[in-house]
């Protein structure tokens, strides 16, 4: 099967000040469709840099990166923007929704920048479908400040899905959420992955990483381990366990 992502000896050097920072030192990685990968590492491990490279927000200083068969490492700014628009859906730690804009309009936003104009009627329909996939179609007209953190992150996921990307890229998606909501969000990701969507998630929390299928651990800009997740957590079971624990201490 063709890899969605193929990294070949990727290097990234930042020229800041007098010292060159070698953030990524030769990473090779292949991810095939349908995978659910966690990229882990402590701060300074190069995981954010790798994330930016995979997300086509930045270009490597060495090596090659093929996204869905396209060599992204040599593209221009505008071409990168088009690749992001068509092939990648971003989910951020801070949700990054536009305030004073309804959930549906937030979800429709990526379609505004699609290279082929999408008629407003279809934009509307696709936004509603995406919101249904994350279970928020009833809140389509709410503004971000009327939604909880978990709901905002669901809107962000719907926005990431709306252009039918080949890859969903999540950067610490549960970093701003409490335990229960985190598990719920991971449940959303697991459900989407079950439908065949490829997901890459950057996180530093092992608990969260255990919901994925494959764990890649970075240190000092290099991959130290890359192995399948044993005893993978399932969101449904984890939620039940959490409820049981809350019952035990009579939290509610």
């Amino acid at each position: 099967m063709n890899a969605v992502i193929k990294l070949d000896e990727i290097h990234k050097v930042y020229h800041t000040g007098e010292v060159d920072v070698h953030a990524v030192r030769g990473i090779s990685l292949a991810i095939i469709p349908g995978e659910f990968v966690a990229i882990m590492g402590s701060s300074g491990s190069g995981k954010s840099t790798l994330m930016n490279l995979i997300g086509a927000l930045d270009r490597p200083t060495g090596g090659h990166y093929w996204l869905d068969g396209i060599d992204v490492s040599t593209l221009s700014r505008d071409a990168l923007a088009d690749v992001r628009n068509a092939k990648i859906g971003f989910v951020f730690q801070g949700f990054n929704l536009l305030p004073r804009t309804s959930a549906r309009e937030n979800v429709e936003m990526p379609m505004l920048y699609h290279r082929h104009r999408i008629p407003p009627r279809e934009q509307h329909a696709r936004a509603m479908t995406a919101l249904e996939m994350v279970g928020l179609s009833q809140r389509a007209d709410h503004h971000p400040n009327q939604l909880s953190g978990g709901q905002q992150q669901r809107v962000a996921i719907a926005r990431a899905l709306v252009n039918r990307p080949t890859l969903l890229l999540a950067d610490e998606p549960t970093g701003n959420l409490d335990t229960q909501t985190s598990i719920e969000i991971m449940g959303v990701f697991q459900k989407l992955n079950d439908q065949g969507i490829t997901i890459i998630m950057v996180t530093h929390e092992l608990d969260v990483a255990r919901f994925t299928k494959r764990m890649v651990v970075l240190r000092d800009g290099k991959i130290v381990t890359d192995e399948p997740v044993p005893n993978r957590s399932l969101a449904g079971l984890e939620l039940q366990r959490l409820y049981a624990a809350q019952q035990a201490v009579k939290l509610d």
Binding site: L57, R77, D78, Y113, H114
Partner: protein, 383 residues
């Protein structure tokens, strides 16, 4: 709220310009109306000046124009009407009152040439001119002075003790550009004036109406040629003037005013544009994160540029629209308070709209360009 303050510069600029322009063009229009109310396409032929022992009289002082001249002018092709004019001030007696006023000898074409009408009664006729009829047309002021209580039509007025019958009353026209009361006048057939009242053989001047505003210069030249030929004088002993000269002077004054206003407009619009640029720069900084999000989901640099440009143009265009409305409102308010005429020229509205849009583009470009050059990674991390 902030957008409103931002727009204020443009609003005030555009409003001030539109208001001022409306009022000045109202005033200009009023003057132009008055000028054209002197009669359109009118050419006046004055007789020459009279020089005696070094003392030079003014135009009309020399007896050089004759009735024959007037008749010759009548036969020119581009001339529609002619009235030989004889002027004199006389003491008029009537109805037990008396009044000193100007007595004009004219032809029946006089109302047509000077764009006047007869309110009641009728103008005297060519027949009256031939028979030296003692018929008179009087103005409103004369009516007020001599016949305050009775209908003047058919009444007898005495000019140098000669009885003239009032056959018509002029429709009032008020004061002319030079402050003369155009209704303080008695008009009689020029033949009666020349033979019965003054016994003069020369005309003060000749009023001529050209056949159209396009032939007025042609007619003027023809009259000059004709009279030069007829008088066979080396130095012309007459002058020919038309209303267009006067119109030209008035409109050049209003053009100067227009340039002045355009200068004021330019300054205030530049100030407004700086305000918009300032707020757009603030807006770009505040919305760095939004720009990052938009770029992350695939907005190209050009998309961001266009978005911010449109915002700047929208701001200034709305400002311009409010300014136009405010300016028109202001000039209407002043007009109704001060009883002045106001005309808002459509051309200036178009100029105002165009320049406010242009200001949006110019002042929005730098902030928009700055936004489009942001690095998406940096922008996303911006707090």
């Amino acid at each position: 709220m902030r957008s409103l303050l931002t727009m204020l510069g443009v609003i005030i600029g555009v409003g001030a310009v539109i208001g001022a322009v409306s009022l000045t063009s109202g005033a200009t229009k009023q003057v132009e109306d008055q000028v054209s109310s002197l009669g359109e396409n009118v050419i006046t032929v004055f007789s020459g000046n009279f020089t005696s022992g070094g003392m030079r009289g003014g135009w009309g002082s020399a007896p050089t124009l004759t009735l024959a001249d007037a008749k010759a002018i009548m036969s020119l092709p581009n001339v529609a009407a002619v009235s030989p004019e004889v002027r004199d001030r006389e003491q008029i007696l009537a109805n037990g009152q008396n009044w000193n006023t100007q007595v004009l000898g004219e032809s029946p074409d006089y109302p047509q040439i000077l764009d006047r009408s007869i309110a009641s009664g009728a103008m005297f006729t060519d027949q009256d001119v031939r028979t030296l009829a003692k018929s008179a047309i009087i103005g409103k002021t004369v009516v007020d002075q001599l016949f305050p209580d009775i209908n003047p039509l058919g009444q007898i007025i005495r000019i140098r003790n000669l009885p003239f019958q009032v056959v018509g009353v002029l429709t009032p026209k008020g004061f002319n550009l030079f402050g003369q009361d155009q209704d303080d006048v008695v008009i009689v057939p020029y033949s009666s004036h020349m033979h019965r009242i003054t016994t003069r053989t020369f005309l003060n001047d000749i009023l001529v109406e050209a056949s159209s505003d396009k032939t007025i210069l042609l007619a003027q030249n023809e009259i000059t040629d004709l009279l030069s030929d007829r008088h066979r004088s080396k130095d012309p002993d007459f002058t020919v003037r038309n209303q267009a000269d006067l119109m030209e002077r008035v409109s050049s004054a209003s053009r100067t005013m227009g340039f002045l206003l355009a200068g004021v407009a330019a300054v205030s619009l530049v100030v407004g544009g700086i305000g918009i640029m300032n707020i757009m720069l603030v807006s770009v900084t505040e919305r760095t994160r939004e720009i990052g999000i938009r770029m992350a989901v695939g907005a190209r640099a050009a998309d961001i540029l266009v978005q911010f440009l449109i915002e700047a143009v929208t701001l200034s265009a709305i400002g311009g629209a409010i300014g136009i409305a405010g300016g028109v409102g202001f000039s209407q308010a002043v007009a109704s308070l001060k009883n002045m005429p106001t005309v808002t020229p459509v051309g200036w509205i178009i100029v105002a709209v165009a320049s406010s849009a242009l200001i949006g583009i110019v002042s929005g470009f730098y902030p928009a360009w700055k936004a489009s050059k942001l690095d998406p990674i940096e922008a996303l991390r911006y707090e």
